[in-house]
C-alpha cells in the first residue's frame, strides 16, 4: 500500500478549490487559548543524524537497571520471537489493513486475538482492541449507559481504580451528561459491607453500572463476587477492569458473582501481554462483553465466515455500529484498533499458552510476597493495607516521603515505585506502590530492599 504525501502544489490547489488561504485557517474555529504551538522538549525539525543523537541522549536518561514500579504498566519477559514475528513485512504496518480480499492473515490474527481474550475473560465477545486501558474503561462506561437507557445517567467508580483511568473517563464522558460518582476506599478496597452506606452518602438513586477493578490500583484483590451481585441486585451492570495476566490465576470476570451471570463488560490494558514498557506507550486496550451487549460495543470486530465457494474466511462484522454507517449515532468515534500491539499480544499468548501465562502470574505473586516480607523487616516500613490479599503489587508506608525515596534510588539507576500521595491525600506523602513481576530475582529483591533500607534510614 503506497502512501504518497501531497505536494505543495496539491495542497495549494485544494485550498484554492475550497476558498481557504492556509491550512491553519481550517482550524480557526479552535480558540487560540486551546492551541499548543510548540511542545516542550520536542524540536521543530531535525536531520536524521541530529534526531539519532537526540534520541540516544534521551534513551540514556531512561537507563533504569532495576524497575520495581508498576502502577498500570508492568515489566514482563517478552520472548524474542514475539517482536521478531511482529516485525515481518506482512504484519509491520502503522495502519491495520481490514479489506477482506487483501488481508486474510491480519484478520485471522485479530480473530484469534478475540478468541483468546474471550477465553481469558469468560465473555462472549471481544472487539479488535482499543487505544489503551483508560479509554477502554471510558468506552465501557458509555456502553453501559447506552444499553441501560435509564433516565438518570450515573456510573459508580471506586477510588481503588487507577487514578489516570478515572481522569480519562471523566474527560471523555463528562460532557455527555453522565455523572461519575466516586466511591471512597479508605482501606484500599471497596468494602461490600460498607458499600450501602457509601452509596447512601453519595446520594443513592439509579445508576447504570458499577466499575470493579481486579486487582485494584493498590494491587489488592477486591471482593468481586459480592460487588457484582450488589450491582446486579440494583439493576445495574458490572464493569470489570482487570490485568489480563492476573486472569491466568484469578476467577474469570464471566464467572463473578453468585448468580452465574458474571460481569457484563470487561476491559483493561493489554500491555502486560507482550508490549514493552517503552516509557509509557503505545499500549493497547481490550474490551469484551456479553453477547446481548454486542450492538452497543464500539470498535471493530472480526468474524469468521465462508466465501461463495464455501471456504473459510474472515471479515469485519457488525459494522452497522460504526461511524462509516451510523454516522453521528455510531457507538464511538473509534473505528480502528491497535493492530501492531495486538499482533504482539496474540503471538505472546500463543507462545506462552495457558500454562506459561499461569507460571508468569504465579512467579509474579511469589516475588511480590518475597519482596513484601523483606520490606516489612525494614524498621518504620509498614503495609498500607495490611490483611488484604495482593496480586503482584502492594502499597507500603515509609518513614520518609515516597518522592524523596524514589529520587534517591533513581540516582542508583533503580525505579523504586509509584508515590501515591498526589492521588490519594489520605495516604499522606509517604506511601509507595511497589511491584515485583517474574523478571525479578532473589538478588534483585535483596539489592532493592537494601537500597530502600538505606534511603529511609
Amino acid at each position: 500500500m503506497p502512501f504518497i504525501p501531497h505536494t505543495e502544489a496539491d495542497v495549494a490547489s485544494m485550498l484554492a478549490a475550497i476558498g481557504v488561504n492556509s491550512i491553519e485557517d481550517l482550524f480557526d474555529e479552535i480558540p487560540e487559548s486551546l492551541k499548543i504551538h510548540a511542545l516542550a522538549g520536542v524540536p521543530a525539525g531535525l536531520s536524521e543524524m541530529d534526531t539519532n543523537r537526540l534520541l540516544r541522549e534521551r534513551a540514556a536518561q531512561d537507563a533504569i537497571e532495576l524497575n520495581f514500579a508498576g502502577a498500570g504498566a508492568y515489566e514482563h519477559h517478552i520472548p524474542a520471537a514475539v517482536w521478531q514475528i511482529v516485525g515481518r513485512g506482512e504484519f509491520y504496518s502503522a495502519y491495520t489493513p481490514y479489506q477482506a480480499e487483501a488481508s486474510q492473515g491480519t484478520l485471522q490474527l485479530i480473530y484469534e486475538y478475540q478468541t483468546m481474550m474471550t477465553r481469558l475473560t469468560g465473555m462472549d465477545v471481544s472487539n479488535a482492541s482499543m487505544y489503551d486501558g483508560a479509554t477502554a474503561l471510558a468506552e465501557a462506561v458509555l456502553m453501559a449507559e447506552r444499553s441501560r437507557k435509564k433516565s438518570a445517567q450515573r456510573v459508580l467508580i471506586p477510588t481503588s481504580v487507577h487514578p489516570a483511568y478515572r481522569k480519562t473517563v471523566h474527560t471523555i464522558v463528562a460532557s455527555q451528561d453522565i455523572e461519575i460518582v466516586e466511591l471512597d476506599c479508605p482501606d484500599g478496597f471497596l468494602d461490600p459491607a460498607t458499600l450501602d452506606k457509601i452509596y447512601r452518602e453519595s446520594g443513592e438513586g439509579e445508576f447504570s453500572a458499577l466499575v470493579i477493578p481486579q486487582p485494584n490500583f493498590f494491587g489488592a484483590l477486591e471482593e468481586v463476587d459480592a460487588l457484582t451481585d450488589w450491582a446486579h441486585a440494583r439493576g445495574a451492570l458490572a464493569i470489570a477492569v482487570v490485568n489480563p495476566v492476573s486472569l491466568a490465576v484469578l476467577k474469570a470476570p464471566g464467572a463473578w458473582g453468585s448468580t452465574g451471570r458474571g460481569a457484563d463488560i470487561v476491559c483493561g490494558d493489554g500491555q502486560p501481554l507482550g508490549v514493552p514498557l517503552a516509557s509509557g506507550g503505545p499500549y493497547f486496550g481490550f474490551l469484551c462483553c456479553k453477547k446481548d451487549l454486542v450492538r452497543n460495543m464500539p470498535g471493530r470486530i472480526v468474524g469468521r465466515t465462508t466465501d461463495l465457494d464455501g471456504r473459510m474466511g474472515y471479515a469485519l462484522t457488525l459494522q452497522a455500529r460504526e461511524q462509516h454507517i451510523r454516522r453521528a449515532k455510531a457507538t464511538s468515534n473509534i473505528c480502528t484498533n491497535q493492530g501492531l500491539l495486538v499482533t504482539a499480544a496474540t503471538i505472546h499468548m500463543a507462545l506462552l499458552g495457558p500454562e506459561g501465562l499461569r507460571r508468569v502470574a504465579a512467579a509474579s505473586v511469589a516475588n511480590t510476597q518475597a519482596l513484601t516480607e523483606r520490606l516489612l523487616r525494614i524498621p518504620g516500613v509498614r503495609a498500607a493495607f495490611p490483611g488484604r490479599t495482593h496480586f503482584h503489587e502492594q502499597a507500603f508506608v515509609l518513614p520518609k516521603p515516597a518522592t524523596e525515596v524514589i529520587e534517591k534510588l533513581a540516582g542508583q539507576r533503580m525505579l523504586a515505585g509509584f508515590a501515591l500521595g498526589e492521588d490519594y491525600a489520605s495516604l499522606d506523602g509517604d506511601a509507595l506502590l511497589v511491584c515485583a513481576t517474574e523478571t525479578k530475582s532473589a538478588a534483585d529483591i535483596e539489592r532493592f530492599a537494601a537500597a530502600i533500607s538505606a534511603a529511609v534510614a
Binding site: 437507557k149 450492538r295 452497522a320 455500529r321 454507517i325 451510523r326 449515532k329
Partner: protein, 131 residues
C-alpha cells in the same frame, strides 16, 4: 408498486402508523423502506412502558448495509413491542405492513396522526424520490 393498505398513515422518514380499534397506534416501516435497507438482520425494540415523544427515535432497524432509526409519529406510552422480530427480523422484509409491525403506542393525543401523510401522498412522494 405494492398495494398500500388504505388505513395507514405515513411519515416522510418512511414509518407507517395504524389506528387500531382499541385506540392504540401500531407503528412499522414501509414496504419502500424495507426495500431500501435490504435484508434486515437486527431490530432494536423499545421497552413496554417507555414514554415516547413525537419525532423521537425509539427503535433501530439494521440491515447488512445500513442501520436506521425508527421515529414515533405520536407522543405516548409504548404498550406493545413485536418480540418476534428479535429472532426473525426478516419478517419486516416479508410483511412490512402486517407481521412486521415494530411497536404500538397508546397516544397522548391521537390527533397527531392527522399530521401524517395519506397513502396516496406517500406513494407520490416515493415515486418523486425515485426519479
Amino acid at each position: 408498486m405494492n398495494e398500500i393498505p388504505g388505513d395507514l398513515k405515513f411519515l416522510k422518514s418512511h414509518e407507517w402508523a395504524r389506528m387500531e380499534d382499541s385506540g392504540r397506534i401500531t407503528i412499522g416501516i414501509s414496504e419502500h423502506a424495507q426495500g431500501l435497507l435490504g435484508d434486515l438482520v437486527y431490530v432494536e425494540l423499545p421497552s413496554v412502558g417507555d414514554t415516547v415523544k413525537q419525532g423521537n427515535a425509539c427503535a433501530v432497524v439494521e440491515s447488512v448495509k445500513a442501520a436506521s432509526d425508527v421515529y414515533s409519529p405520536v407522543s405516548g406510552t409504548v404498550v406493545a413491542v413485536n418480540d418476534a422480530l428479535s429472532d426473525k427480523p426478516e419478517t419486516i422484509n416479508e410483511d412490512a405492513y402486517g407481521e412486521g409491525w415494530i411497536f404500538a403506542v397508546k397516544p397522548d393525543d391521537a390527533a397527531e396522526l392527522d399530521e401524517m401523510m395519506d397513502p396516496d401522498d406517500y406513494a407520490t412522494m416515493i415515486e418523486d424520490e425515485d426519479h
